[in-house]
Structure formats: C-alpha cells, structure tokens
Symmetry: D2
Subunit: 331 residues, 4 copies
C-alpha cells in the first residue's frame, strides 16, 4: 500500500451525495440486488439512509490495517503484494484464447506477474490496468457506461511475491481457502480462483504438474531475513511452471502466489428498475437518483491488496512461531 493509494481512494469518492438516498420511495421498495432486503430479513430493522452498514465504505478499515501488514511483510521477508485490474466488462488484459486457454500457461501473463510493481500500477490511475492500450479501452467503456447511467463488473489479479515456504494450514485453513474467504468478504465479489483456476480444470495432469528444479542460490538482499538464524530459510527448490499458484496442499511452496477475484457490476445504477414493496403487496418501478459508480474494480485494487496482506501476515506469524520454537529445541 503506497501512501498514494488511500489518497486516490478519497479523491474518487469525493462527490458523495448521501442525501440522495433519503427518498420516500426507497423506504417502501428494496433496491434490486442491494442488501436492503436481506438486511431487513436478517435484523428486522432498516437503515434510515442508503446502504448503511452494507456500504463498501467499511473497507476503509481493512485498507488501514492492511497497510501496516504490508509494511511488516516487506520489512521482514521482502514480501511484495501487487494487485491490478485485469478485466473490465469484456476488455481483458490477457484473454484466454484457443492457443492459450489457461493464463497460468501464458508466457506474457506470467512475465507480467514477475515484473509488475505497485508503482507501475499507480501510473495507470484511475483505472489501474498496467497496459496503456487496454487501460485506454477500459476508460472508454467506463465513461460510456457512466453516460448510459449503467455499470459493469470486472476482475482484479493479485500477486504475492517472495512469500516464505510453509505458510498455511493443512486441512480447513489451507492458505487458498483463507484467501478465498478474505476476498469473497469484499463487497460485490462473486468469484475467486488461484493459479490455473477454472481453466486449469481442462488440463491434463502431466501438463498441470509443476516440475521441481534446483533453486538458484538466493541473491543477497539487504534485509534481516536473509541472514538471521530465526528467519524461515528460502526454499532450495523452485518449480518450472506455476499452475499451483504458489500453494500446494494448502501450504506455500515459495513460488509467487497469484489469484483472481471477480466483481459483479454495481447494483446502484441511474436507470429505472422493476421491484416490489418489502411486504410483497405491490410491485412497481423504482427511480434511483443517487450517485453511482459505473465500475468499482479500480477502487477494489487496494482492498484486495490489503486483505491479502492480512491473510499472509496471519499465516506468517503462525509459521514463524513454529519455526522459531523448533530452532530453540534443535539448537
């Protein structure tokens, strides 16, 4: 999390008009695909204005905590977490094609994950897609949808680099399971995949298995973790491919962790919509007049990074404890 990111988050949000949500109509009609209806069903009470507690504004706390976690990860083990917008509507930074049906087997995509930095992503504000041409097309699409008072979804890819081996638990808290939990807890998300993901299900085992090779000696970096005896040592092996996405059996193998998160189109749009009254006694058209954001994906990038950092640091702290105590016994 660079200092620039939360600022941009604020900037993009500055045109807040909460009072637009206060109309009488909304007191009677739940907005389609919002949490209005389910919150009332669950709690028996209704927020007096807008989405209330279901607003994505709650994620600000996650981003704040994540910034601290990212700093600890970087300063101890040199872990870097970078997320970017990979898809908006049908515009894809690296589409699956017939020749390259699986992104984890796509050379260009895997190179992008190797080299991408936060600084690079932030050069493509506000859309945060690190490919000038694709970013331009995404901007056009978002602008067009804004003019149409409509919205679209998108996908964020996140890579976690330099993660120590041995993080994650073997059964219920496999690292990918906890990452999926964290990502699907972000508002508007509908899907998660790690490594080869859904498209990897079509591969043969002989192609999908990641062969182990001897790791090059770790290069000398200026951080404690490279020399301290209490640091979890870098792996002696690498894998030639990385369809596993850096996790095998729920536990990190030292390769880059990468995953993809899908966000649905925002439910708030500036178009008349059909709905019914809360009590089902009437049906009708709801004219929503509030502020709307045609695509939340660019703003989700720092949230995805933050949640990844919190998950990885938790797993690191657990394994660091095991590793340190083991060292004290053997020492």
């Amino acid at each position: 999390m660079t200092l620039g990111t939360p600022l941009s988050l604020v900037v993009m949000n500055e045109d807040q008009r909460p009072k637009d949500y206060g109309n009488k109509t909304m007191d009677r009609y739940p907005r389609p695909s919002h949490a209005d209806f389910t919150y009332l069903a669950k709690y028996g009470v209704k927020a007096s204005s807008g989405g209330g507690r279901s607003s994505a504004r709650e994620t600000i706390a996650r981003v704040a905590a994540g910034a601290v976690a990212e700093k600890v990860l970087r300063e101890t083990y040199g872990v870097e977490i970078v997320a970017f917008v990979a898809k908006v509507g049908n515009i894809d930074i690296c589409p699956e094609t017939e020749e390259d049906p699986v992104r984890s087997g796509n050379t260009k995509f895997m190179e992008l994950l190797q080299t991408i930095t936060k600084e690079e992503v932030d050069q493509f504000l506000p859309v945060r897609c690190p490919d000038a041409e694709v970013c331009e097309k995404m901007t056009e699409l978002i602008t067009k949808l804004k003019d149409e008072n409509n919205s679209t979804g998108g996908q964020v890819v996140c890579v976690v680099k330099n993660c120590p081996v041995g993080l994650g638990e073997p059964i219920f808290d496999k690292l990918e399971a906890v990452l999926a939990h964290a990502m699907l807890s972000i508002p508007a998300t509908k899907s998660f995949e790690i490594g080869s993901g859904f498209s990897g299900t079509t591969m043969k085992g002989s192609d999908h298995n990641d062969p182990f090779v001897s790791a090059p000696k770790p290069k000398d970096v200026d951080m404690a973790a490279s020399t301290s005896t209490s640091a979890i040592p870098r792996s002696l092996l690498k894998t030639r491919t990385n369809h596993s996405g850096g996790i095998q059996g729920g536990i990190t193998n030292g390769e880059h962790i990468f995953f993809r998160v899908g966000f649905k189109p925002p439910a708030t749009i500036g178009i008349d919509q059909f709905t019914a009254t809360y009590d089902g006694s009437d049906e009708g058209v709801l004219a929503a007049k509030g502020r709307h954001d045609p695509c939340v994906v660019p703003r989700a990038v720092p949230i995805v990074e933050a949640m990844a950092a919190l998950v990885i640091l938790d797993a690191l702290m657990i394994q660091q404890s095991r590793y340190s105590l083991r060292g004290l016994i053997q020492g």
Copy 2:
C-alpha cells in the same frame, strides 16, 4: 447425503494399494504438485508413506458430519442440497456460448438447478453428471486418460434449495465467503464462483440486477417449519432472475443458492515426471508407480454437499438464535 453415497465412495476406493507409495525414490524426491515438499517445509518431518495427512481420505470425516447436518436442514426447513459434475476436462454439461455467455442467464441451466435431485444424480454413477449424453462422453474421456496413465480436472456445481432468508453475516463472514472457504479447503480445488460468477463480471448492472417480485403464498408442506411460530418465515418476495445466486450483501434472500467449484487434475499420474531432490542437490525423473485416479470430480460431489451442509447449518443456527430471541422480546 443418501445412504448410497458414502457406500459408492467406498466402492470407488476399494482398490487401495498403499504399499506402492513406499519406494525409496520417493524418500528423496518430492512428487510434483503434491504436498510432499510443502509439508516437509512446514513441519520439518516427512510422512513415511504416500501423502499421509494430506490425503483426501481425511474428507471422510467431513462427509460423515455433513450427513447429519443435511438431515437437520431437511427436517427443519426442507433444505435440499444437491451437487453434480458439471464439467470434466473440456466436456461441459452447459458450456458458456456467445449467445449464452453467463450460465446464470441460461434458461436450461437454471431449470436444471430447479429440478435436480440427489436421486437423479445418483442414477448417473459413477460420473454423477445428470445428462446421459454428456455423462457418456465424460466416461469415455476418463477411460481414455486412465489408459494413458494421465488425469484431468473438472467442475462441480452445487445448489442449496429452500434456504431460509437472513443466513450469513454482513462483513467478514458473508455466506459466500464462508462457502468459498469451505470449498477451497477440499483437496485439489482451485476456484469458486457463486451465482453469475466470473462470467457475470462482463454484464451490465441493468441486466445483472435481480428484480424483486411478490412471492406466491408458500405452499403447505408437511413440516414443522411451515407452521411453528419459532420458524423463520418464508420470504414475501422472490427475484425474477437469480444472478446473485441466492445471496445479497452476504445474506440469503430465499432464492436457491448455487455455486461452482473447480478441481485441478490429480497430481498422481502413471507417467515419468521431472523433479529434484528435496535438498536441491540433484534433479531427475521420478517414476511413480502407485494407484492413480484419472479424475476425482465424481467422488468430490458428496464432499461438496457435505461442506455446504455444514456451512449452511452453522449459519442457520446463528440466525435461528437471533430470530427466536427477537420473538421472545416482541411476543
């Protein structure tokens, strides 16, 4: 979980040959894409034979507990949980096409979810894909891969019917997040999507939003939940479409919950594979000779159902408590 299912699970597994795993070679070489390497990295010790604790055999306990949970769900609220194989390799019971790019908008697929039963799925043993023609093709593919000593992945779709409204928590434990956690904790899974999932990210908000309509009066069913004052009442609203997959704002809205889980091709294959020694000192070819299963997806069906049942019953117990106490205050 019908009584037939665990039996079939056992039947498919009866040709166990654990001693095949005990060869000397495997003591020195981690098998590619297994948990051999990461378990050693994490714990500093190695299982003496095969995958040990990382074996999917641990899921038998989940299936046993899930059977109890499914029974409670059915007998209290008539909840039915049905999973089936939707894809093996490239063979798909309902492929995304240019005309129907999103399955949650595909009439045939959504009707299948409405009508499918466990009994129907079990008529398509051992593959568990409820479409005779597609199932036949899947069987052929699996047979072919078995002959080639290779493997492939696949996808399981699960639907949870008649779930009461109000289940799930608003922030970190959104129901889809906990479901994703549970599903990604099943061995060999790489991906999860709910409702419109990844393909829904390309839709416009105006198409993706699920309009509310008045619900038909609940039909009289022969169960306590339909009459008891302590039962969470059925919703007064329905939605015309169900891109949300039965969950909005992390909380059930009473529509069917449906999700998809992707399984990678099994790592154990009967083909020589490149790998390196644990200590990175040598590289070479590992000749695995053990039993192998060319496609785990059919056997994953009851595991997916079991984990879904455990998640839903947990959420139901939490909401049942809130609802009952609220009733005692208002009464």
Copy 3:
C-alpha cells in the same frame, strides 16, 4: 444495568488528572505492580503517559455492551443480574465463621442473594454494599486509607437470577470456566469462586450434594418466555441447597448462579515506593504523585454485572438455537 450506574461511574471518576502521570521519573522507573514493565517487555514500546491501554478505562466498552445484554436477558427470560460489594479490606458483609464456615450454607447470605435487587444496591452508593452498618465501616476504612495515601482490595459477589436450564458447554467451555475467564479479564482481579467455592472444598460430599426436589409450578409472569412455545421451559426440579451455584457439569440447572470475584488493592498509591530502572541498571525510590483511588471495588460492581451479562447471553443464544431447531424437528 440501571441508567444510574454508568452515571455514578462518571461521577466517581470526575477528578481526572492525567498530566500527573507525565513525570520524567516514570519514564525510567516502572511503577511496582503496574503493567508498565510487562507491557514494555511484551511490545517493546512504552505508553507516553500513565497506564495507557492497561488503564481500567477500557472497561467502559464492556459496561456499554453489557447494558444491552442485560436488557435482552431481562426482556426474554426475566434474567436479573445483581452484583454488590461483599468485602473491603477485612470488613465482610458475611464473614466465614467456625459455625458457618461455608457461605453457600449460610442462611442469611443465601437469603440476601434471593432478595437483593439493583435498586437496593444503588441505595448504598458510592460503596455499593447493601448493609447499612457494614457499608458505613467500609466507607470509614476507604476514607482512612485515602488519608494515608494507601489502598486496599475487596470482593464483589454477583448473582444471576432466573437463568434458563441448559446453558453452558460440557467440556472446555463449562459456564463457570467462561465466567471465570470473563471476571479475571477485569483489571485488578486475582480470584474467582462459584457456589461453595474454596471453603466448600472442606465439606463432605453428603453435605455438599444438592438434593433435587419437585419445583413449584412456575408463577405466571408477564413475559413472552412464560408462554411462547419457542422459549426454553422452566425446570421441573429445584434443589434444596445450592452449593453448586446454579451450575452442574458446566451447565445451568435453573438455580441462581452466584460467584465471588477478588480484587487486589490498587497499585497506584500516594506513597514513595522502591523500584528499579527498566534496564536494571539502577534501583531507587519512585514518588508517584498522580490521582489515586483507595479502593476500586465499588466501581467494579457494574463491570462484573456487564461481563456476567455478556457471558450468559452468549450461552443463552447458543442454547436457544439448539432448543429452537430441536422443536422444529420434533414438531
């Protein structure tokens, strides 16, 4: 929690003088029996003034949450939680004597628990000991200690009335275990006992066992819980004595729950004290000049009530869920 209680809490605290804590001396010397030293040992950083996060001021959040919990308990099952000061220094509202060595066998003490109300306790502000004569002596002692710039400890007794049967878990989360956890998490506490407590360890089993007797028909009270089918029913049995303190095998039996919490004398006193520098390089006398409270026990009363309410409501919600679902199955 009556509205009066938090107010009195504020009143008693109004003479705050935080700047007194800011002296240079305290930067070098940890105050004896404060958390200064252990916090530095744990976190490696020091609060810049006073006790910082270890201040009992954090309990205000517990009292706020407890007030809500107490309200829910009262309005659903008529549960009443009353705590009072039972001992200050050596002055005891009901001392253990040779004739009455165990308070749970002391008729007068057990009657007090039956009849005591929050309103009665609040008539004895600020000391909160519901016996005029004893309260007077306690006030004198506290005043004397204040003049001496010294402090003393004390004990709080808490009774939970009308608790439904079946609350608490059988093994690790026995209700008395969770209550002990909650009480020992209150600053300055050193001890906890339930029912017959420490002195009951000297009894014979034949005297300690609480004989069951038939319960009188529950009297008609004006609350939902007495009539609703989803309410946990009142017990058909009572016990003649209550050495168990309302909990048997970790689970409530419907009798009054009562327990005692011991608070050490406050560490902050207005007397010169011996200590050493944080680094152990020097020893010397620390002259603490800050505000001090000669006895915290009266102010602990609402905190004890609040923590009890949170524990009991948690246990009630868990059991209410089980009970309601069971009813839906059997119904």
Copy 4:
C-alpha cells in the same frame, strides 16, 4: 509430566466397575450434584450408563496433549510446571493464620514453590502432598471417608517456573483469565486464585505492590534459549515479593506463576441420598451403589499441570511469533 504420572493415574483407576451404574433407579432419578439432570435439560437425551460424556475420564486427552506441551516448554525455555495437593478437607499444607494471613506473604510457602519438583511430589504418591506429616494426615482422612462411604474436596497449587516475560494478552485474554478458564474446565472445580488471591484482597497497596529490583545475571544453563538470538531474553528485573503471582496487567513478568484450584467433594458417594424423578412427579431416596472415589484431588494434579502447560505454550507461541518478527525488522 513424567512418564510415571500417567501410569499412576491408571493404577489408581484400575478398580473400574461401570456396570454398577446401570441400575433402573438411576434411569428415573438424577443423582444429586451430578450432570445427569443438566445434560438431559441441555440435550434432551440421557447417557445409558453412568455419567457418560461428563465423566472425568475425558481428561486423559488433556493429559496426553499436556505432556507434549510440557516437553516443548522445558526444552525451549526450561519452563517447569509442578502441581501438588495443598489441602484435603481441613488439612492444609500451609494454612492461613492470623500472623500469616496471606500465603503469598508466607516465607515457608514461597520457599516451597521455589524448590518443589515433580520428582519430590511423586515421592508422596498416592496423595501427592509434599510434606510427610501433612500427607499422612490427608491419607488418614481419605481412608476414614472411604470407610464412611463419603467424600471430601481439596485444593491443588501449581507453580510455573522460568516462564519468559511478555506472555499473555492485555485485555480479554489476560494470562490469568485464560488459566482460570482452563482450570475451571476441569471437572469438579469451583474456584481459582492467582498470587495473593482472595486473602490478598485484605492487604494494603503498599504491602501488596511488588518492588522491582535488578535481576542477577542469568546463570548459564545448557539450553538453546539462553544463547539463541531468537529466544525471548530473560528479564533484567526481578521483584522482591511476588503477590502478583508472576503476572501483571495480564502479562508475565518473569517471576514464578503460581495459582490455586479448589475441587468440591465428589458427588458420587455410597450413602443413600434424597432426590426427585426427572419429571418432578415424585421424590425419594436414591441408593447409589457404584464405585466411588473419596477425594479426587491427588488425581487432579497431572490434569492441572497439563492444562497449565497447554495455556502457557499457547501464550508462548503467540509471543514468540511477535518477538521473532520484531527481531527481523530491527535486525
């Protein structure tokens, strides 16, 4: 946990006669002060014989796990955990007297805690009270009660030596709170106190505060923790007295942790007892004929040690993680 301890546990238990519990009478009458009644109230089902799941036999799993935890604690930081029987009925290894009203101020008692070892305690089998004369009297009392078919309670004291500084959490999971939780989860316990405990509540602050003094240089011991850079360093301070019981502000200060646990007299006795039928329709006398143990306290000693070990190791693992990561940042 020495290897001798679980053996002795088995020896003391060898005269099991479970079939004695199977009489018809017990199906209708709950045994006084057992969990028969509350388990039925909670679960709606009854164990077919004896106490079933509420039997203290479940603690065997705690002792097994505790043995591993004790080993890790000893081999990493030289932590030693020793418990012993301090009181049976009215026979007390160190009674509170008028001259010595607080045990944490009693020189002889505090010296006992300094020097006591597991080996010494095991010399006083089966009663486990490390004072020949007192032990003799306890044996006589237990024998007498056995002859009378009656039972009595008792108290166990436990000391944890060489615990590193900084263990425990500041608010809800103060180390004494978690210890209290663990101890009160042991069957038949009614009370817990740490350090000065209940009697310390009568002291003045000026006497109760533990003055800090410079610590002597840690003596060279043959263990990794004394030299490894990843080991939590020993404290530079000691306290002259230890009324705090080794914990201040919820966090260890490096002094010995000591606490006391009270056990009620066993409910199972060989004497006719009054009780009522489960449904309250009848009252009568229950003639229990099963095996009974006149005093469980000696057998509780290894259970107390085991639970202490589990709590301390958990806290150590948490703090070890913090400490190690901090070292990697500062390094």
